[in-house]
């Protein structure tokens, strides 16, 4: 089961848990499972039913260009990080 890393500022939503194993084969499915267990996660990540534009998904350290559709497997690390581009 993939591991979702919860940023420090959001740990109040997960009763202090920093790393949570969830099911799902895509980031979207993983987030749905998280939301079921810890209501409020979705509001923090989503806007209009999609990921907020200033948030990016990194799976195993690589920022995914397809975000919620990104495939995750058994040992994937999922992080929600700031979306940046540069000058």
């Amino acid at each position: 089961m993939p591991i979702v890393f919860i940023p420090a500022a959001m740990k109040e939503l997960t009763a202090g848990a920093a790393e949570i194993r969830v099911g799902g084969s895509t980031v979207r499915e993983a987030v749905a499972e998280l939301e079921a267990a810890y209501p409020g996660i979705r509001d923090w990540l989503f806007e209009d039913n999609r990921l907020k534009p200033n948030i990016a998904v990194a799976v195993d350290g690589v920022v995914s260009p397809i975000g919620l559709l990104q495939h995750v497997d058994e040992n994937s690390e999922v992080h929600f990080v700031a979306a940046i581009s540069g000058g």
Partner: protein, 766 residues
């Protein structure tokens, strides 16, 4: 999508390609040395009117009224516009590729609605038969202001009783909205490990505060645009921009039109560095064109560029680091407040991601604050946010090295981030070249060269930037003479037509000269994100590789058809198609290209990519200076820049990026600043007084390219456009300290600042 064929942390400098790594002449070169290249301000067409923009003389004021009647009565004036000519965007938020932004902020920055938030804020615009007429007419526009107190620095703006720029701006904290009305639009935090425990285990703790001034990207070509709002309601814009699709999408959003109604042709562009991503005058020229029925051109003056377009944030930073006596870093804490200027969006988020990126530290806390102040709305500038942060962190690291008596590069080597190091914001680093850059610095003859003479010192620092991937598109057509035309959507600011063309050439076994690359308008190529984030050679390069592979496959099929075999019976090597059945049958690319028209359909390759395998880039500097103890002037004696390029596709232009970025960093370090008076007026809004480095201020800038292959790119390329600006301020502060024994904690380190520090050290009371 990309082939991953390299060993971990293999240094590729000995790997030979046929085209990649060579130095062909750039395809647009002749036009640019003869004056024939058409930049935005060179655009001309029948019936062209000239626009000019009225700007606020005040840093903070409410607009009571705008009376344009006298300007409209001027005989040569064709149109006058103000913010009320735009559709009211309400609370709508738009994603224009730089995160979610309230459309009203962009619209109100383009033309102020009810308040002006900085001196230079656009208020109204006119179009007239000549620029002189337009400038005359501006003087006839009467604006009544109610002055408000300006707030000019992040620490001032964060005070409880500070004047508010936006009465309805509520702070976002840790990713969630709050009810707090504030000049702080966002407060974020990254945490890793246990910061208290980390400091408790440290033998030495160093804590320092730093300030950096607002600086401008300083491109030599002012912003410009020409807009034609045609009779069929379609809008065509010719402009110098890093992002034609960004201009299209933003202009369409502001004008409340579908994107298909706006077409943007990117002209040649005279520098950008992040500053030519935002929209300023394009929607204004479009409105003027609509009202006048003429095409309208607006070209900013230099003062307008400095006072009215995005500089990059000034900042106030606190860094605290704890180490064991052997140099092992145990804990690090950062507090970063960046000045966004008039509207939210300071580059503090990437600053927070870069501030400790070079080091593997178990316990980290980073707090970032995005603070609005009465200065121009800030924009990206080459590794945005990272230079400010590195000035602070690297200065503290150098102080730790000095206090522990450890060589500063050894201290860095001991703690350097590497593949698998967990960043403070969570993810682990992929393959990076931090160690390799520091090792190259340590082994370079510059580092061990004797430095003799009074008031001379040597400094070092490193820097990092993530780089970006983002979408790029590319089409390639095969010509009967054996050449290919390559169409892309990335404006070429520093030789990227060639670095992109070389990658297609490598795939097809052609010399770079047989590729004819063109940068085309938004109706003529698929969506392509900005020329920024060091992404064009990586991402548009990948699109070119994919499109070339598409061409290669179609050519193999065509050869198979001609030879009457299945396509797996054909092999392509170094520009030649071979029949695999042992016969001598072969066709060169040119021979096959000549037969395309008579053997089937035209051959056109296409690709759209949004690549994930972005390779971040580390950089470093060794710099020698001499400080004049009588004047405080710093003279650079020797400068060596190091950077991990992955594979350097065109080494000359990699060196050029490193040299240019280094010198921008030098200017930021030693001279450049927005010198504001108490009323928020920039007192140095000319290139005489906003003092960028000249040829006379500098030595040659030596470069060392380190090539740690990026596994996310077939040839191993990383982006090289940005990380090079990051280390110079800290390296120069370190060198000045080693020369005259003063710790510099404020940018710029101009003669006034250095002299002040010397007097303070010598105990002078005045």
């Amino acid at each position: 999508m990309s082939e991953q064929s390299y060993e971990p942390n293999m240094v590729l400098s000995t790997k030979e390609f046929d085209v990649v790594g060579k130095r062909p002449l750039r395809h647009d070169g002749v036009d640019k040395v003869t004056g024939r290249a058409i930049y935005g301000a060179d655009v001309s067409m029948a019936g062209l009117m000239h626009g000019a923009v009225l700007r606020s003389p005040h840093a903070h004021a409410r607009i009571k009224s705008i009376d344009t009647s006298k300007a409209e009565a001027h005989p040569e004036v064709r149109a006058v516009v103000t913010s009320t000519d735009f559709v009211d965007p309400g609370d709508k938020a738009v994603d224009l590729g730089e995160g979610l932004t309230r459309l009203s902020y962009i619209r109100n920055n383009v033309l102020a609605l009810d308040k002006v938030l900085y001196r230079g804020h656009a208020v109204a615009a006119v179009a007239a038969a000549s620029l002189h007429d337009a400038l005359e007419a501006l003087k006839l526009i009467e604006v009544e202001y109610d002055l408000l107190p300006p707030v000019l620095t992040a620490p001032d703006a964060m005070k409880e009783d500070a004047p508010l720029l936006h009465e309805n701006l509520r702070m976002t904290e840790f990713g969630r909205p709050t009810d707090k009305v504030s000049n702080v639009s966002d407060h974020f935090r990254h945490e890793k490990g246990d910061i208290e425990q980390g400091f408790a285990e440290a033998d030495l703790i160093v804590e320092r505060e730093f300030d950096t001034s607002t600086v401008h990207q300083g491109y030599i070509e002012p912003h410009n645009t020409t807009a034609l709002w045609n009779n069929d309601d379609r809008i065509h814009i010719w402009t110098s921009t890093q992002g034609p699709f960004t201009i299209r999408d933003t202009t369409a959003a502001i004008l409340d039109k579908p994107v298909s109604q706006v077409r943007v042709t990117p002209t040649e562009i005279g520098g950008g560095f992040g500053g030519k991503i935002p929209v300023y005058i394009d929607p204004v020229a479009a409105l003027l064109s609509n009202k006048s029925g003429h095409p309208v051109k607006i070209v900013m003056s230099r003062a307008e560029v400095l006072e009215g377009t995005g500089p990059t944030p000034g900042s106030h930073l606190k860094i605290k680091m704890g180490v064991k006596s052997d140099g092992t870093m145990m804990a690090a804490q950062a507090w970063l407040a960046y000045e966004a200027g008039a509207y939210p969006g300071a580059m503090v988020v990437p600053g927070g991601m870069c501030v400790f990126a070079a080091y593997d530290i178990p316990n980290v806390t980073i707090d970032g604050y995005d603070v609005v102040v009465n200065k121009p709305s800030t924009a990206a500038y080459r590794a945005p946010g990272a230079t400010n942060a590195a000035f602070a962190t690297e200065s503290v690291v150098n102080e730790i090295a000095e206090k522990l008596g450890i060589d500063p590069l050894d201290l860095r080597l001991k703690n350097a981030s590497k593949e698998g190091t967990r960043r403070a914001d969570g993810p682990k680093f992929p393959r990076i070249g931090c160690l390799e850059v520091i090792e190259a610095m340590k082994n370079h003859p510059h580092y061990s060269a004797p430095l003799e003479g009074p008031n001379r010192g040597r400094g070092v620092a490193v820097g990092f930037w993530f780089n970006a991937g983002l979408p790029s598109a590319c089409n390639i057509a095969v010509n009967p003479d054996g050449t290919i035309t390559l169409v892309e959507g990335s404006p070429d600011i520093g030789g990227t037509r060639t670095s992109v063309a070389m990658q297609a050439a490598e795939v097809l076994g052609l010399p770079a000269e047989k590729v004819s690359p063109s940068v085309v308008d938004t109706d003529s190529v698929g969506f392509t994100a900005v020329t920024g984030g060091s992404r064009v050679t990586f991402s548009t390069g990948l699109a070119a590789i994919e499109a070339a592979r598409d061409v290669r496959e179609q050519m193999i099929q065509r050869a198979a058809k001609i030879w009457g075999v299945e396509s797996d019976g054909v092999e392509f090597r170094k520009g030649v198609f071979h029949l695999k059945n042992g016969t001598e049958n072969r066709m060169t690319f040119s021979e096959l290209a000549a037969q395309i028209a008579t053997t089937g359909d035209p051959i056109v390759g296409r690709a759209g990519v949004n690549p994930p395998g972005v390779g971040g880039s580390f950089s470093g500097n060794i710099v020698d200076v001499e400080v004049d103890p009588e004047t405080g002037k710093v003279t650079i004696l020797r400068f060596t820049a190091f950077q991990d390029a992955g594979k350097a596709i065109h080494p000359s232009y990699v060196e050029g990026q490193m040299q240019g970025g280094s010198v921008q960093g030098i200017g930021w370090a030693l001279n450049e600043e927005y010198f504001m008076n108490a009323e928020g007026k920039m007192m140095n809004s000319s290139l005489l007084d906003y003092r960028m480095p000249t040829s006379l201020d500098l030595p040659m800038i030596d470069t060392v390219i380190i090539e740690v292959a990026n596994p996310g790119h077939p040839f191993g390329a990383r982006g090289v456009g940005e990380a090079n600006i990051v280390p110079p301020p800290a390296a120069l502060a370190n060198a000045i300290n080693n020369a005259v024994g003063v710790a510099m904690n404020r940018l710029p380190m101009n003669p006034v600042a250095v002299m002040g520090a010397i007097w303070e050290k010598n105990g002078a009371t005045d």
